[in-house]
């Protein structure tokens, strides 16, 4: 599944980032790496969503959310 398919209020583990290099790099610099835990806080109908990684909130567009692949749900 991708971050876009995640549910509000649940946490997941990032498995892989499949995005254009510069976008992927920016996310990695913010600490979004394979194995990192992310929590989805809010989501809009058009796919824009807010998630939290390493204690900081970010808003991302649908296209980026689609490129972040998640492993299983985390408690």
């Amino acid at each position: 599944m991708t971050l876009l398919q995640g549910e509000i209020g649940k946490s997941y583990q990032v498995q892989e980032i499949r995005l254009q290099e510069t976008t992927a790099r920016r996310l990695q610099i913010l600490g979004l790496l394979s194995g990192t835990r992310v929590e989805i806080l809010n989501k809009k109908k058009n796919g824009t969503l807010i998630f939290k990684v390493r204690g900081t909130r970010y808003a991302i567009g649908k296209r980026i959310a689609e490129g972040i692949l998640l492993g299983g749900e985390q408690p």
Binding site: T22, I29, L30, G31, K44, K45, R57
Partner: protein
């Protein structure tokens, strides 16, 4: 000897607040050479030690992807920076440590300022401030820029550290105890990578030293080469193929974060990620349904205060100006000063500059509101809230931030478009931002709507903002249809914790803007007033009577007037003020004052005279509205054009932007006047 300190840190880490806490309002704001990134410099004295402080742009890392990052890195490497002061938001230590590790790798003395310690305590978290410096090999001083605690200790440490260089040696095991690496890097460097990367660093370092014996910090350059950093690869071309089979950037980032996790494990306790205040506020502000209405409500309030409260204070300013203008007039007359000089001072300078100064309260309130929106952390939520709507225009929600800033001033708004990744998105945003009505246009609306629209004045003025927004949206849509938009609208923006805005930061932000406005009044508007005055008093036949036919001004105006008559603006006085308004939009108002010989155009008496003069020539409310629309849409000002040229780095796009704005302004004004004439004639 002054200690040269560079302030570096992530965006939203409170760096500027800390910087301001030391320098106060005594700072010098300029641009970095060649680019429009702001450079802030200030001086500070502590215990007979002079400090030179430089505020570098906020960045998440020191790669060479953005202009800000390149600047920060070059400045630190090449300039005579004595100490790097890394401002860290201690309430999100983990991410902030990434930049810290990169800064430490640069090899210059680094001091960490653990900012926002008050928030850390509020949330019940604890940071081991003894273990942290041990693991990182640099001092870490807890401070709170907002509460001004720890400031002296921090500067003391900076001064001490500048003298002694590195006096803490890192003490940590760094995970890989089984390293077979021959060197004991752990004693020397804070960040040590896995064996594969360390071997490659050694290899590259040797090669760099061979080719460039004078290279400073070869280890850092070697790491950058491993990351395939374009700039360094260009600057230090050495054969790499046998060592560098791919980019190791991902590995390097991963290993840095592995180390950061170790540091967090040992130094941060009661890691409480729940920040209930922000969650509660966000529940409303980024609500699925309520987010947008709340935003629109906030903006409506901003404009309501700008017009009502601003106008109320403005009334007092006008009384003062009246009194001043009369006083100066009498004084000059009684001192028997040359009549031409009297006219220049009273009809030219006071009428022009003074008329503009009375708008200070409106502009003050507008900028105060924008400062509050920015400093509280709301601005980035707007990007989230607007992302869907902006997506329909082919732009990311982030593009809305420059547009919103455009209500204040087009110049910083155009600069803010730099945060957009896609060049096409940037260009599009730069083209539409000037349609957002800036504060310099406000005097025009206030003057003409209070002269012609009586109790509907506020509605008329507010409608300009709506028309501007509408034109911006239509332009973006048209570009989207023409396929000129990037369409890869990728929003990625940090939503910082909500915080009570710092009064000091707000004060300095607003003061900077007010200072700009006053400077503009004292320079651009001052000069434009003199030029307009001269154009009106002199003609080919020498000095003529003020405002009369035969002056240069009248000649220019009369030549161009027929062109503008379909828009109801075929008056030579209007044409002259519109041309003068390219210097700065406020000049439209100041010129009108000079043109009609009114010393205080905003006072009731001044307005009456003006309305009478205009009405005599057939200029009605409809003409006034067409004029307001034209002023809203045509070229913002010379400074904005200069900024567009710099930001797009292209003469072509600058010209496109100028012609487009003139065309749209003309078209809209003609439409308003022609359609309006059908109803009101």
């Amino acid at each position: 000897m002054s200690v040269h300190v560079a302030f570096v840190g992530n965006p939203n880490c409170g760096k500027t607040t800390l910087f301001n806490a030391y320098t106060g309002a005594r700072l010098k704001v300029a641009n970095w050479p060649g680019v429009t990134v702001e450079k802030k410099e200030g001086a500070f004295r502590y215990h007979n030690q002079q400090f030179k402080l430089v505020d570098l742009p906020g960045t998440y890392s020191l790669t060479s992807y953005t202009m800000e990052e390149k600047l920060a890195r070059q400045y630190i490497l090449e300039d005579e920076v004595d100490v790097i002061l890394d401002v860290i938001d201690a309430s999100c230590l983990e991410r902030n440590l990434y930049l810290a590790l990169q800064l430490i790798e640069l090899g210059k003395p680094v001091v960490l300022a653990l900012n926002m310690m008050d928030i850390v305590q509020e949330r019940g978290m604890e940071i081991d401030t003894h273990r942290l410096p041990e693991m990182l090999g640099v001092p870490a001083i807890p401070v709170s820029a907002r509460k001004k605690t720890g400031l002296d200790v921090l500067m003391h440490t900076v001064a001490h550290h500048a003298e002694n260089g590195r006096d803490i040696f890192p003490d940590h095991h760094h995970g890989n105890k089984e390293s077979t690496h021959i060197h004991d890097h752990h004693k020397e460097f804070v960040m040590v990578y896995g064996d594969e990367i360390e071997d490659k660093i050694d290899g590259l370092q040797a090669r760099l030293l061979e080719a460039y014996p004078d290279i400073v910090n070869p280890r850092w350059h070697a790491i950058k080469l491993l990351e395939n950093d374009e700039e360094i690869m260009r600057k230090y071309p050495i054969p790499l193929e046998d060592i560098l089979d791919r980019s190791y950037e991902t590995d390097i980032i991963n290993q840095k974060y592995d180390f950061i996790e170790e540091v967090i494990e040992e130094c941060l306790f009661n890691k409480n990620e729940k920040s209930q205040r922000t969650d509660r506020i966000d529940a409303l502000l980024t609500h699925r349904i309520w987010g947008l209405p709340v935003f629109l409500g906030i903006m409506a309030m901003v404009f309501f205060f700008t017009f009502t409260v601003g106008d109320w204070i403005k009334g007092w300013f006008e009384l003062g100006l009246d009194w001043f203008s009369d006083g100066v007039g009498h004084l000059l007359a009684s001192a028997h000063i040359n009549e031409m000089l009297q006219s220049l001072i009273v009809d030219g300078i006071i009428a022009g500059v003074g008329g503009i100064l009375t708008f200070l309260p409106n502009i003050f309130i507008l900028f105060l509101a924008l400062a509050l929106l920015e400093d509280s952390g709301y601005m980035s939520r707007v990007a989230y809230v607007m992302d869907g709507i902006m997506g329909k225009l082919g732009l990311s929600g982030r593009a809305f931030i420059p547009m919103l800033l455009g209500f204040g001033c087009t110049v910083p708004a155009v600069m803010a478009s730099r945060t957009l990744e896609d060049p096409k998105d940037r260009l599009k945003t730069i083209l539409i931002t000037p349609f957002m009505s800036c504060s310099a246009r406000l005097p025009i609306y206030v003057l003409f709507s209070s002269m012609f629209f009586g109790k509907y004045a506020m509605v008329a003025a507010f409608s300009m903002y709506v028309i501007g927004l509408g034109v911006a949206i239509l332009t973006a849509l048209a570009m989207q249809r023409l396929g000129k938009g990037g369409g890869k609208y990728n929003l990625l923006i940090e939503l910082p914790e909500f915080k009570r805005p710092s009064a000091h930061t707000i004060f300095i932000y607003v003061w900077e803007k007010i200072k700009d406005y006053l400077t503009k009044a004292g320079t651009t508007i001052f000069l434009a007033s003199i030029i307009v005055w001269a154009l009106l008093n002199f003609g080919p036949g020498g000095m003529v009577e003020m405002g009369a036919q035969g002056s240069f001004g009248a000649m220019i105006g009369q030549t161009l007037a027929p062109l503008l008559s379909p828009a109801g603006l075929g008056y030579w006085q209007v044409v002259v003020s519109l041309i003068a308004g390219i210097a700065a939009k406020e000049v439209v108002v100041s010129s009108m004052g000079i043109l009609y010989g009114i010393s205080n155009i905003n006072s009731a008496k001044g307005m009456e005279t003006m309305v009478a003069a205009l009405a005599a020539s057939g200029f009605t409310g409809l003409n006034a509205y067409a004029l307001m629309v034209f002023c809203l849409l045509y070229i913002p000002c010379a400074a904005a054009i200069g900024t567009i040229k710099k930001e797009t780095n292209s003469w072509k796009w600058m010209c496109v932007s100028i012609l487009f704005q003139l065309g749209v302004a003309y078209l809209m004004a003609v439409l308003v006047y022609q359609i309006g004439s059908l109803f009101f004639s």
